[in-house]
């Protein structure tokens, strides 16, 4: 592991000379290109210590939020890692990285999954939807997102993208749930602020918004 420690050391020094935080933010606005290339450098250096066998990167095309995105993906790489560090989609949060908190929930073919516990190489033929892909192309928020805003459902909101994705997935199978049913639907997500009651109220409002939108 000596090699990787050295590389980590270098890593701590290198980025500030090449990319300022301001540039990085501009990059996000310009379309995420800077972010993905910056994280590409980050990953490439931090993994040298592990490359005993093969670096195992392959160029993949994956369908994320309706776009075909290309990324170099390691064989052992999780979807959460690819989304955050290769594609710049940091709305998907990493909490426990052990399928125990739900922060990284995304939809794969409309079904909620923990993105920390899926290999990116397993979703090549499937459709991934993250929190960034919920709003309409014109920027109109998804009814569940609107419900969360209307009810001010979250405190710190670190868990929010996971909760919203889990409930959007659940509402596809049960669009008119009782409060208890929806609680069961999002029972695979934790909130450290212990704000469950408000979260449920907000998600119930979101479900109502969805039904109203589909009736129009």
């Amino acid at each position: 592991m000596g090699d990787s420690d050295d590389n980590d050391h270098k890593l701590n020094e290198a980025p500030p000379t090449t990319i300022s935080r301001r540039d990085l933010i501009k990059g996000v606005i310009a379309g995420g290109v800077t972010v993905s290339s910056a994280s590409y450098l980050f990953r490439a250096t931090s993994l040298l210590g592990q490359s005993g066998q093969s670096t195992g990167e392959r160029l993949l095309t994956i369908n994320v939020n309706g776009q075909l995105r290309r990324a170099d993906v390691m064989r052992q790489e999780t979807l959460a890692w690819t989304l955050r560090h290769k594609l710049g989609l940091t709305g998907t949060k990493l909490g426990c990285d052990r399928a125990e908190c739900g922060s990284c929930t995304v939809l794969i073919n409309d079904i909620p999954h923990y993105a920390c516990s899926v290999l990116t190489h397993m979703v090549r033929d499937r459709k991934v939807l993250t929190i960034e892909g919920l709003a309409s192309p014109e920027g109109k928020l998804h009814p569940v997102q609107q419900g969360v805003i209307d009810e001010q459902g979250f405190q710190c909101a670190f868990c929010m993208p996971g909760f919203i994705m889990a409930s959007v997935g659940f509402l596809k199978t049960n669009p008119n749930p009782t409060r208890g049913e929806l609680a069961f639907g999002v029972s695979g997500n934790l909130c450290r602020c212990q704000d469950y009651d408000k979260i449920l109220t907000a998600l119930m409002r979101g479900a109502e918004n969805m039904r109203r939108a589909s009736n129009v």
Binding site: G52, G56, Y114, A166, S187
Partner: protein, 338 residues
């Protein structure tokens, strides 16, 4: 142990698209290969660097391992069918409800959306000494850290412990035993079909594995015969919290009762030993008796005969006695709803 948030160590990822190819790859790679089903057990091992396989064989691309099919006698469930699909399948809900109920109580919605039936019955022990990489018997060492005066063993075995005191954590396993399911295993020589209860082994047979699969072998499907379709079922799981948790104990039973008399019965518990236990003595004792609380009480006492508690798990003995009693004699108390 610190939680590592990083990329897993490198491994070769093989993604076969047929059972034949997968079996050949496993045969070739032997002990170096790690079988990846849903990954809900595997990723913990790999992320924590406790197991470091050179090669991971991902079964997720094999269509023939997925889905639920009708057979001439019951149904066949592909080993890679997700637990959510098992929960929602109309035939399972109608005829084999005990399996749907047990699958619905596994972990969390997202885990059930990805975790597979084959993976749920093949998952490894959850003893935290073992999971944390301590060199215990199950990890080819020569000590059990849980079975010491100060070992934390509240979740551990009360029956058939031998050196290792870990328990099998599966919820669907006892339901499949109650349904007299058959497990289909692909080997280099062809196909082998075994009874559900014979899929699991205790430390007396193999202290490093909870099941009979050898390197190069693959569980491909689980068949449920129609013999117990529509029987009177009971499933109950007791755990510390209502989501994510493994069972402290669970019980599954299938009974055919006519005029109040138990004609046929199969009953199994899990969380009590390193393998899910089919309670044959209980089945023999209650057959022909009335399906009531008195028979249940008798069955409960018989079920825990020979149980030996560890330092912190004596509660499991009355718990198992009562679960067996409720499975056979019914639940008289008011049921609890959330």
């Amino acid at each position: 142990m610190a939680v590592i948030r990083d990329v897993m160590p490198a491994f070769e990822l093989l993604q076969p698209s047929s059972i034949v190819d997968a079996q050949k790859l496993l045969q070739q790679q032997g002990r170096d290969a790690w079988v990846l089903a849903g990954g809900m057990d595997s990723f913990d091992w790999l992320k924590d660097r406790i197991k470091k396989p050179k090669v991971v064989v991902d079964l997720s691309g094999i269509a023939e391992l997925k889905g639920i099919r009708a057979t001439s006698d019951g149904i066949e469930i592909g080993a890679m069918t997700t637990l959510t699909e098992v929960v929602q399948h109309p035939v399972i809900k109608e005829k084999f409800k005990v399996l749907a109920e047990s699958a619905e109580l596994v972990a969390s919605p997202q885990i059930r959306n990805q975790g597979t039936l084959g993976g749920n019955v093949s998952q490894d022990a959850r003893c935290w000494y073992y999971r944390a990489g301590w060199p215990c018997y199950r990890a080819d060492g020569n000590i059990c850290y849980a079975d010491t005066p100060e070992g934390r063993n509240r979740e551990h075995a009360i029956l058939h412990a031998e050196r290792c005191v870990a328990v099998n954590p599966s919820d669907t396993a006892p339901a499949l035993i109650a349904l007299d399911a058959k497990f289909v295993i692909r080997t280099s020589k062809g196909e082998r079909v075994i009874d559900a209860e014979d899929y699991f082994v205790g430390p007396d047979i193999d202290i490093t594995s909870l099941h009979v699969l050898k390197p190069g072998e693959l569980l491909t499907a689980i068949r449920i015969p129609s013999a117990w379709a529509g029987a009177q079922f009971y499933f109950e799981k007791v755990r510390d919290r209502n989501v994510w948790d493994f069972p402290l104990l669970n019980v599954a039973s299938a009974m055919v009762v006519s005029n109040g008399t138990i004609e046929r019965i199969r009953i199994a518990v899990n969380g009590a030993a390193a393998r899910p236990l089919r309670l044959k003595a209980v089945e023999d004792a209650v057959r022909g008796k009335a399906a009531n609380a008195a028979t249940g009480t008798m069955a409960g006492k018989l079920a825990v005969e020979g149980a030996v508690p560890l330092q912190f798990n004596a509660y499991k003995i009355p718990l198992m006695r009562n679960l067996v009693k409720r499975a056979i004699g019914g639940v008289e108390e008011a049921t609890w709803t959330s």
